[in-house]
Symmetry: C2
Subunit: 304 residues, 2 copies
């Protein structure tokens, strides 16, 4: 059975992604903090990396998860922006010479190449801090006690036992062979935790009960893993012009990847299994959850 999206659903997804992306782009570009009178150079570096035309996957997952439960997601845009700030800071720091030492990101010079290392470190720090300033803004639709729980969830997903911890495992694993289960743990932390938090947060903001939050956690975990596997596959087989970054990087650095540890066909199959798992977690939800369903399929078949 083909897991590709029908042309109709593919167009509907593109339309959905385009409108939600526009919400996010506008909200990011117009954050009141840009007027706070901070150092011009710092603001320039933050905006250079934040407003660079990324996919906005995490903010859109938050919005789509809230909408899947019938909510109007627009009031939750500050939370969506916070996720993108955290994602962007992590890319800036990961690209640093002491980390992955990347010169190119989304088709442009990385932050430390465009500015300098000190500025890139500080721009990352400032974006991480900004994320928490954003989620601490009161939102009329959200009980402050829920906001507090979401801040704790976000901090855990982004922190030592989540994204930062995953990056640490990644650095350590470059110097040694790791097993498939270690690779899974690494990715569950490094990319999975924040993607999962995006989905849970959307469901929670929409007033979803614990049982729903658990199902969105499952969805997020499945597509997070699928996203990482397809990322590895694209690095091996993809087109660097479409991706906007050099391919074959993992190969050169003898880094552990799913295709390398399982073989390419098995890695593809594993990604499909995760997408099936994602779809199952949404079973029983109505058409409002369709964008999440389409998105899962899209992750599987994307070429950039």
């Amino acid at each position: 059975m083909s897991m590709a999206l029908s042309e109709e659903n593919s167009l509907a997804l593109q339309d959905y992604l385009a409108t939600r992306r526009e919400w996010v782009e506008r909200a990011l570009a117009e954050l009141p903090v840009w007027q706070q009178g901070a150092s011009d150079r710092l603001v320039e570096a933050m905006r250079y990396s934040l407003l660079d035309g990324g996919k906005r996957l995490r903010p859109i997952l938050l919005l789509a998860s809230a909408e899947a439960l019938g909510a109007n997601a627009q009031p939750f845009l500050p939370f969506a922006c916070a996720l993108e700030c955290i994602h962007t800071y992590s890319l800036i720091h990961d690209d640093l010479p002491a980390m992955d030492d990347d010169a190119l990101r989304r088709g442009r010079a990385t932050c430390h190449k465009q500015f300098d290392e000190a500025t890139a470190i500080l721009a990352g720090d400032a974006l991480l801090t900004l994320a928490f300033e954003l989620v601490a803004q009161p939102v009329a639709e959200v009980d402050p006690a829920v906001s507090l729980q979401l801040i704790a969830l976000l901090a855990r997903a982004a922190g030592m036992a989540g994204m930062v911890g995953g990056q640490m495992l990644d650095m350590v694993s470059e110097k040694q062979e790791i097993s498939l289960s270690q690779l899974r743990k690494l990715h569950a932390c490094k990319t999975g935790a924040l993607i999962q938090a995006s989905c849970i947060t959307g469901a929670w903001l929409a007033g979803g009960a614990m049982v729903f939050r658990d199902r969105f956690a499952e969805y997020g975990s499945a597509i997070g893993l699928a996203f990482q596997i397809t990322d590895d596959i694209l690095d091996e087989t993809g087109d660097s012009r479409l991706l906007g970054k050099a391919t074959g990087q993992d190969q050169q650095s003898s880094k552990a990847t799913y295709p390398r540890l399982m073989g390419l066909p098995q890695a593809r199959r594993e990604a499909e299994i995760q997408i099936e798992r994602a779809e199952e977690s949404l079973s029983g939800l109505g058409t409002a959850a369709d964008p999440l369903r389409w998105l899962a399929r899209y992750i599987l078949t994307r070429n950039q």
Copy 2:
């Protein structure tokens, strides 16, 4: 008139600082997050820098500000720990080769010297994130809506228009001459904002009304500036064995300092003026505010 502390008050202050420092040390050492199962290396680096016997000025200012308004400050220890996490992360990142390139901190190897640059960057990132996890924990004594406001305050003080912005100004100003007013702005952001936030947070947690929060903001701003001026003076005149770091660093790097821009006697006088301002901001408060009064005097006359 001498602004030195009497021997009696000096002993009372030492006693106060020792007990509050012990509260903070224990709370930091026993944070539940150390058991979260993160990468051993990351946890080790975080604890290496966090549990290194610092002065704990910011946490103690929070506790003392709450106590000055008659509160029991122990329930607020998670907030106090968060301040120290943010302070420590800023030191780790400031010490990096791309920033101040320091090998020694508080008498020990800096984090990137003890571990490596990637680990130091990530340990800093994780400590900053941890701070927000800590302040998002519900505290029975604190209304969640107040907690949210305190998180926003903390993020602003630590972020692009506060501490990170100040460090950016500091990096930029190394390459050009700056004026005294620019130096004040730099320090108001780089060190003043977080010190001020510590005092405001303590007063706010204690239930202090806006008028009190404004007075603690004034106190924090004054001692923050005094602290920075005495830091510059100590760098010029201090004993590197007592300070646990190399002195004369600023001189070597031709960095702008108060002694350099105003002359040493005028810098000393300026620090005294700030301490008088700090004392005035506490006028009318009873003996519960004495530790804050003593602390102000102590900052002026410290030799480490």
